[in-house]
């Protein structure tokens, strides 16, 4: 009897460890990027693996969204920038789509190498991750149902149901709205559908993304609320804290794109407001 139990238990351990050994992504939390005696830098490790993993959240077009062509490829401005970073390193790009609030923890546990997901730079976030240069600065807007006639300015928001994406600066803005019933959801398309169907009154979201949904989903419109934009810094690409090598590669990539005109081509391609 005892022998049988031990045999079974060992078999399970064996099976589990074999399946687990297929993963290449085990990492040491402490030395992300630091050069120690004989240790490889983060960039060297990426080149060795032959691929770089970017984390994103694909309900944020035009920065990242799921392509309507096949329903599964993630495309967008951030993805094109990520592809440029991968090209510069000469490795393949792997895109991992996850919930937005999972991005920073995933950087900390090295599930992903960098995160490009329309992440606004804030002091609080900068405590956990390092950011690249700002590559886009927009603002927050409110998206409401098309025929909504009673929300025109900040004070109209009292007593209204307002939503925003969990973990975003839009959510921070939404929480501060005086007198509003605020809630968060995981995905922006869920929020937009809720607004369109009148389940909530408005969605706080980044301007370009709001425009995208207004154009593609229909039944919605944008209301500009100036009070939303106090203290907005702009969007940056995030890497794990201390990962100086990869951060330099990303900043160099952005600088090269700006220098050779590719950056402007991308802003046009994806309909971002010009940064000049």
């Amino acid at each position: 009897m005892v022998k049988k139990i031990i045999t079974f238990a060992l078999t399970i351990l064996l099976v589990v460890s074999m399946v687990g050994c297929g993963s290449k992504s085990s990492g040491d939390l402490k030395d992300s990027g630091k050069k120690e005696q004989g240790q490889l830098s983060s960039v060297d490790k990426i080149k060795q693996k032959g691929k770089i993993v970017v984390g994103t959240e694909a309900t944020f077009p035009p920065f990242e969204g799921i392509s309507p062509k096949d329903g599964k490829t993630v495309v967008g401005f951030d993805m094109d920038v990520a592809a440029a970073v991968a090209k510069k390193l000469g490795v393949e790009l792997e895109i991992v789509d996850m919930s937005f609030e999972g991005l920073i923890p995933s950087l900390e546990t090295e599930k992903i190498d960098f995160a490009a997901a329309g992440i606004n730079v804030t002091e609080k976030r900068a405590e956990s991750v390092d950011f690249s240069q700002i590559y886009y600065k927009g603002g927050q807007v409110l998206v409401v149902k098309e025929n909504n006639g009673n929300i025109k300015k900040y004070d109209d928001l009292k007593g209204k149901k307002i939503g925003a994406q969990l973990g975003t600066t839009s959510a921070e803005v939404g929480e501060k709205i005086e007198g509003a019933n605020f809630e968060t959801l995981n995905k922006v398309d869920q929020l937009m559908l809720s607004a369109k169907n009148g389940i909530i009154d408005g969605v706080v979201v980044d301007d370009v993304v709001g425009v995208e949904y207004v154009n593609k989903m229909g039944g919605l419109k944008i209301v500009k609320i100036p009070e939303f934009n106090e203290g907005d810094e702009g969007m940056g690409v995030a890497v794990a804290k201390g990962n100086k090598e990869l951060l330099k590669v990303i900043n160099d990539t952005l600088n090269e794109l700006k220098a050779n005109g590719e950056f402007d081509k991308l802003t046009d391609k994806w309909g971002l407001l010009s940064q000049k």
């Binding site: 993963s23 992504s25 599964k72 989903m217």
Partner: protein, 222 residues
């Protein structure tokens, strides 16, 4: 409102099929791991060694008393935070589903064994068989009649529960409905299709279970 437009789903049929494949994979792997763990746990619970009994009881009670999603998050997010080891999505999903299922399977096995008439074990002892022979030749054969239908039920439950793993980004059937909803902006059509697919899978399984039950019942009249 405009009516239902199922044609919009056409370009995403490959994606939906991928979701079906992954859901079935999760079900099969999950139930296999669950049966393995459940069998070990059931044996441990009946063991004379107290430590084994305690471990098995703790496993069964804790697992049945906490939500599957929390267990999944503990494996997928918690373990990397504690140990720095990253767990790939499929492994985490199968581990969570199997680990969760195992606790229920252990109870299924226990109930199946206990449902066998006490007279059978008494008769076996009086014929001179010891504990392990009684179990192997008399009790288990009859317990299987009770256990097997309940196990198929567990498989059906697991297929439905596997929708929970969509939250870690695994492209199984529920997640494909999320993804397709986010590009078509029409939730109803894809959700209806996905619900029908889940129903087809569980319906086929429950029909199979009824067949198995009928075959097993035949031996009752011998």
């Amino acid at each position: 409102m405009d009516g239902l437009k199922f044609e919009i789903l056409k370009p995403y049929i490959p994606l939906i099929l991928e979701g079906v494949k992954n859901t079935l994979l999760l079900g099969i792997l999950g139930v296999s791991l669950g049966v393995l763990l459940g069998f070990v746990a059931a044996l441990m619970k009946r063991s004379k060694i107290t430590v084994f009994r305690v471990i098995a009881s703790v496993y069964i009670e804790l697992t049945r008393g906490t939500p599957l999603m929390i267990q999944l998050f503990l494996i997928f997010y918690g373990i990397p935070q504690l140990t720095g080891v990253n767990i790939p999505k499929l492994l985490a999903a199968v581990a969570a589903l199997g680990f969760n299922s195992g606790a229920y399977v252990a109870e299924i096995i226990r109930a199946g064994i206990e449902a066998v008439d006490k007279g059978q074990t008494e008769a076996a002892y009086s014929l001179g068989m010891n504990n392990s022979m009684t179990m192997r030749y008399i009790v288990i054969q009859q317990a299987i009649k009770n256990i097997l239908p309940a196990l198929v039920n567990e498989f059906i439950t697991l297929i439905k529960e596997s929708s929970v793993v969509s939250v870690i980004g695994l492209t199984e059937l529920t997640r494909t409905s999320d993804m397709i909803r986010s590009v078509t902006y029409r939730p109803f059509e894809i959700l209806l299709v996905v619900a029908l697919i889940y129903f087809t899978m569980t319906f086929v399984l429950s029909k199979f279970m009824k067949r198995v039950e009928r075959r097993l019942k035949r031996s009752d009249n011998c």
